[in-house]
Point group: C2
Chain length 409, copies 2
């Protein structure tokens, strides 16, 4: 990636880019007194883009958000609830998502065609719309453009996530300072639910909606799409981006001299959020980062990196701080892409464990110390071509089983 | 499948079909005094067939067995060790597998081109050939044609499997009694290893090697290939079938009036072994049987059944006796095949939980009781076509994590 073209903003959040306010409150969908309704608002119509879950069963909010984005590609707001996914809820669920959209639009004084909706939580139960509606009425009074607004929003989208997930960078586009920020939630459980990923990106860059859509897709493929907690794809996964344009930069195009810098910055934000989701996976004690190089092409490298990071055996071994390269090479061999079986190198951090597909004697004590750390790197070099990829995941622990084996009642 | 065309032989094993002896002993590859070397011998050259792991990293014994089978399709013996997989062992590993083959042939007085070799256990370590060779010399003295011979063999192929796995049926082919039997091992751990499946089928049916190969492949696709313990595919998976022909039936062809009965019997043996492997999966407390009907075709049904049975969230929920249909429908939706999202029915045993993709109110107490049983059925009807499939797996438990997180040292 060469030299870094952006600066990390330590305390930045979705309200840091110019034009955005955000807020959150407790409306009563969660049993405890935690935030469960949040909103991001842009003071101008923002160029918008979104990517959605590939699961065939898509929750009602996704249908409503798709329609909003199809209608000109501009958004003024995104309203989100946690505690109920509004999934598998039929015609009533769709009507409820539309009501959320319309009521948020009215409360915020914007067109309902420019309001996106997202939900996460229990599947198969109808939203308690009286609570949602009462909460939406109060949302305008909670909007803030400072760190607290971003914070309240981040809290409102969590389910059993342990920590808030934000990232923010600034960079220069055509001589103007541009800020990109994001918030995300990851794998939480609210019975009966599965891991849901929601992501929200705000920026003040001036960029058209079609190009933002292309860039968001490209960046998603190397960030959010490269994480695995347990291989399950939710009915509610969604990533929404809004660009206010208030940085007043010369509009970004693929030919813009600072286009690559913008993409780098967006990739940083999305990658940090993705890694935060992986590290905060259910029951996780460690972040696992798998890098595959020397593949025939990037796609082959991605397939292998994701197979390794998705292997229950590899994940269990990392939990146990076990330098178990046999499981890693077995994952390489079943990824479904061609591999030269005689030229594979594997490192755990800096510890070489396999060279040209042959075991290397290594110091077990040093390996144990390394694997006990909170981040474990698995590096595979296929020594074939120049394809490379990185994927992120977490270890498989007793707590994952405990969390997911719990009775819903 | 219509009426059952075979009779189950309760205490039958690989030595029950005419012409077979088997045995096992401890040669010193396992640390404890358990059998770790076994052999099945046929008194005549048996028509033979085999299927192998799809993992690109294939252990040395697989290469040697492939060569033996390519040389006329007849086998007199298969020699197996546990405790060491002879995988990722390079040229020396290949030489060692050939030595096992040659020494077993000499000890048994058969051609080495008619001896198959299989291994399971630690990856990346060379076999202790002095122990293997000494054991092979003693093998002829341990051969028995009774139940004890089958038993000794079954013990010799186990790693951390908890129970021996055998199945046996008889049926009539052209007026003659034909017996089909099998032995298998499943997901065991010997550090650092992954789940390995080895299967061995013996029969006294008269059937040519090419047809046996076709039938074995077809039956494998609906039995061994429909089980999942953790989605990891080993470097050593192998299924070998040997047909002595000593039942003296009119040779089986696809047009033979009892061909379907033979396939049914073979399917029963392979399915029973496959289910036994799933039930005995690492840490498993339950067998999960997933049936999908009403799919566009059998392949679509297979894809969905395997996605459900492979879902860590579904497996954890079954461990926790949680009637979590949300995770099941989410797995249906990400299986990669077309599904009508409005017409899905789901039952847990006889308990209807989803009808036409809408939740059904059910008695949670009754569901809990059902899910606490040692076998859990998940039935999905897509209400689209006539495609159907069944897959087997096990729950995901604390013990799976414990077993697989254990330090290798």
């Amino acid at each position: 990636m060469g030299k870094q073209s952006y600066t990390i903003v330590e305390d930045g959040g979705v309200t840091t880019p110019r034009g955005f306010k955000a807020g959150g409150l407790h409306c009563g969908l969660k049993k405890t007194e935690r935030h469960d309704l949040g909103v991001i608002v842009c003071e101008v119509p923002a160029s918008a883009a979104a990517v959605y879950t590939t699961n065939l069963f898509q929750a009602a909010p996704l249908l409503v958000t798709r329609e909003a984005l199809a209608n000109g590609g501009a958004l003024r707001a995104v309203v989100v609830n946690s505690g109920n996914a509004n999934a598998c809820t039929g015609a009533q669920g769709e009507a409820d998502a539309r009501t959320m959209q319309a009521n948020a639009a009215e409360a915020l004084g914007v067109s309902k065609d420019q309001v996106a909706v997202a939900s996460t939580g229990v599947i198969g139960e109808l939203l308690k719309m009286d609570r949602v509606n009462a909460g939406i009425e109060k949302l305008p009074g909670r909007l803030r453009s400072d760190e607290q607004g971003s914070d309240d929003f981040c809290q409102a989208i969590l389910t059993t996530d342990l920590v808030k997930k934000t990232s923010c960078v600034t960079l220069t586009v055509g001589g103007k300072q541009v800020t990109i920020a994001g918030a995300a939630k990851g794998s939480g459980m609210i019975h009966p639910n599965m891991a849901t990923m929601l992501g929200f990106v705000t920026t003040d860059a001036k960029i058209g909606s079609p190009l933002l859509q292309e860039v968001l897709r490209e960046v998603t493929n190397v960030s959010f799409n490269m994480i695995t907690v347990d291989g399950d794809t939710s009915t509610n996964d969604m990533l929404v981006a809004m660009a206010s344009g208030l940085a007043d930069n010369s509009e970004l195009t693929r030919g813009h001299p600072d286009f690559a810098a913008f993409v780098d910055g967006l990739r940083h934000v999305c990658t940090e959020l993705a890694k935060a989701i992986a590290r905060d996976g259910e029951g996780a004690t460690k972040l696992i980062e798998t890098t595959v190089v020397g593949a025939d092409d990037d796609e082959a490298a991605q397939a292998i990196a994701k197979t390794i990071i998705g292997s229950s055996l590899v994940k269990s071994a990392v939990y146990g701080a076990d330098a178990n390269w046999g499981r890693i090479i077995a994952a390489v061999g079943r990824a479904g892409v061609p591999v030269n079986v005689d030229t594979v190198d594997i490192r755990l951090g800096d510890i070489v464990v396999l060279e040209q597909s042959r075991p290397v004697v290594f110091d077990e004590e040093i390996a144990l110390e390394y694997l006990k750390g909170d981040t474990v790197g698995i590096h595979v070099d296929l020594n074939m071509g120049s394809g490379k990829a990185t994927a992120w995941g977490c270890d498989l622990t007793y707590d994952y089983v405990r969390i997911n084996a719990a009775y819903r009642t």
